[in-house]
Amino acid sequence: MKTLVQEVIEAGGGESIKACYQCGTCTGGCPTAGEMDYTPRQIIRMVNLGMRDRVLTSSSIWLCASCYQCQVRCPRGVRIADVMAALRSIAIRDGITAAKPRAPAFYQSFLENISAYGRQFEPVLILRTIAKSREGVAAKLGFLLGMLPMGVTLLKSRKMPLRAEKVQAIEEVRRLFSNAERLEAEG
C-alpha cells in the first residue's frame, strides 16, 4: 500500500515535500489561507504524516488558487502549489469531492469540453459543471442564477460567444486524451 506522500510525488508534487521544516512561510503569503480549513503549512505536514482522508476531504485543496507565491518563497524548495495540484488530481481520480463539489466538476467539465470541441466554450462549460456538480438542486439553481448577471454583462459587451470554435482535427485532440488515459493507467 502506497503512502500518501508517495502518491503525491508520483502525481507531480515533487520529492522536496519531505524537506518541509514547518516554518509557515507558505501560509504567510497565501491569499486564500484565511478561508481554508487547514493552512498550506498544515496540509504539507498532514501529507507527510499520511493523513489521507482529512487532506483529501479538506476545502484547502480546492481553495488553493495555484498562484505559486508559496512555492517561489519556500526556503526548502517544497513545491507547495504542485502538491496541491497533485492532491486535486488524486481526489478527482478517487471521486472525493465533498468539500467543494463545484471545483472538481468544473475541472472535469473543462476537459470534457476540450474533448468535444478542442477549445473552450463557456456557456456549455457552465451547464456541464452544474450538471456534474455533486450538490443539491437548490445549490445548483443558486449557482446558475448567480452566473446570470455575468452572462448578461458579457453579452452586452459582445464577449459571449454563442457558437463553439471547433478544432478541425478533433480526432488528434481525442487521441491525446486516450493516450493520456492509457499512460495514467500504467501508473
Binding site: S89, A103, M150, T153, M160, Q168, E172, L176
Partner: protein, 297 residues
C-alpha cells in the same frame, strides 16, 4: 528588422478577452512584428489539465507546441496561463523520462516535439524583443498625465515555479512599457498578489475580496486605470467589477490591457483596432482624452 512569431491566442482571446486579441494584433502590426496564428490550435488545458492528471497537462499543450515547431518559429502567447502550460511542456523535455512520455502522448497524431521553439509571453516580446525604445519612437499621442498602476498577477512572474523573464518580487516590464508611451506609473504593492480568478468556482466571494483589494489600492493611490496583461485578471478586475461593487462599494476603475494602452499612444483606432468599447468598466474618459475618434459606431 522584421520579427515573426507563431501566435497562440488561446480560448479566452476568442471569447471574454476579444479586445486583448484585437489590440495585440493591432499593436504588434503597428510595431512591425509579424504574427502567424498556429493553424487549428487547441486548448492548453488551463488549470484543469494539472488538476486532473500530469499526462493530460503535458499532452494538450504538446500538440500546439509541436505545430508551432513545424512553422519554425518561437511562440507568442498573450495569456499567462497558456504561456505557463506551453513552457511547462517545453522545459519538461530536458528530462529524458518526460521526453519519452511526451513522445508516447503524441503517438498516432503524426506530430513530434523537439523543443526547438521557445515560448514567450507577450510582455517578454514587447519589453524584450521589441524594446521600450522602439515603442517610444513610434508614439504619436503621448499619454501625458495619465496615472496608472500595473498589475502583473501570478503566471507572468511565477510561471508554475519556472524562471520568469521578469522579477518575481518587483516586476518592471509593464512599467517600462507604460512609461515609454508617456504614462505615469504609480507605486503599487499588489502588483503580483493573486486576483483570485482561479477560485471563481470554489469561492467566488474570495475572488471578489482579492480583486477588491487590488482595485481599492489602485483607487487610493489615485490611479486612473489598472493595466494588465492577463485575460483572467482582466475578467476578475473588469467584468466582475459590477459584482464586486455590490458587495464592497463603488470603484469605477477602468482596467486596460497593456496593448490597449500602447495602442492609444500609437494613435490606433480605439474601437476598431483596440476594442476599448468592449471593456465592461467604461474607458470613455481615457479615450476622449487621448483620441480624436470618440464614437465606436
Amino acid at each position: 528588422m522584421s520579427q515573426r512569431y507563431a501566435y497562440y491566442p488561446g480560448c479566452s482571446l476568442e471569447a471574454s478577452a476579444v479586445e486583448y486579441d484585437l489590440s495585440t494584433r493591432s499593436v504588434l502590426k503597428a510595431l512591425g512584428v509579424e504574427l502567424e496564428e498556429i493553424p487549428d490550435w487547441s486548448c492548453c488545458g488551463a488549470s484543469a489539465g494539472h488538476a486532473v492528471s500530469k499526462s493530460i497537462a503535458l499532452a494538450l499543450p504538446a500538440r500546439d507546441l509541436a505545430k508551432a515547431e513545424s512553422m519554425g518559429r518561437n511562440v507568442l502567447a498573450p495569456c499567462p496561463a497558456c504561456y505557463k502550460n506551453l513552457r511547462y511542456v517545453r522545459e519538461s523535455l530536458s528530462d529524458e523520462e518526460a521526453r519519452r512520455k511526451v513522445e508516447r502522448l503524441l503517438e498516432g497524431t503524426g506530430l513530434s516535439l523537439s523543443g526547438s521553439s521557445e515560448v514567450r509571453h507577450l510582455l517578454e516580446v514587447l519589453a524584450g524583443d521589441v524594446g521600450a525604445e522602439r515603442i517610444a519612437e513610434a508614439v504619436t499621442v503621448p499619454l501625458e498625465g495619465l496615472k496608472v498602476v500595473t498589475y502583473y498577477g501570478c503566471y507572468i512572474t511565477r510561471p508554475g515555479g519556472m524562471r520568469s523573464f521578469d522579477d518575481p518580487v518587483e516586476p518592471v516590464s509593464m512599467d517600462l512599457l507604460c512609461r515609454a508611451v508617456g504614462a505615469a506609473v504609480l507605486p503599487f504593492t499588489r502588483k503580483t498578489r493573486c486576483c483570485g480568478a482561479p477560485v471563481m468556482m470554489s469561492a467566488p466571494e474570495e475572488m471578489h475580496r482579492l480583486s477588491y483589494e487590488i482595485l481599492q489600492e489602485a483607487k487610493q493611490r489615485g490611479a486612473e486605470a489598472v493595466v494588465v496583461a492577463c485575460p483572467l485578471c482582466h475578467h476578475a478586475l473588469d467584468a466582475a467589477q459590477p459584482e464586486i461593487e455590490k458587495h464592497h462599494g463603488a470603484l469605477s476603475m477602468p482596467v486596460l490591457y497593456i496593448t490597449q494602452l500602447l495602442g492609444l499612444a500609437l494613435g490606433l483606432n480605439p474601437f476598431e483596432e483596440l476594442g476599448l468599447d468592449r471593456n465592461v468598466v467604461s474607458t470613455e474618459g481615457i479615450v476622449k482624452r487621448f483620441s480624436k475618434v470618440t464614437c465606436s459606431r
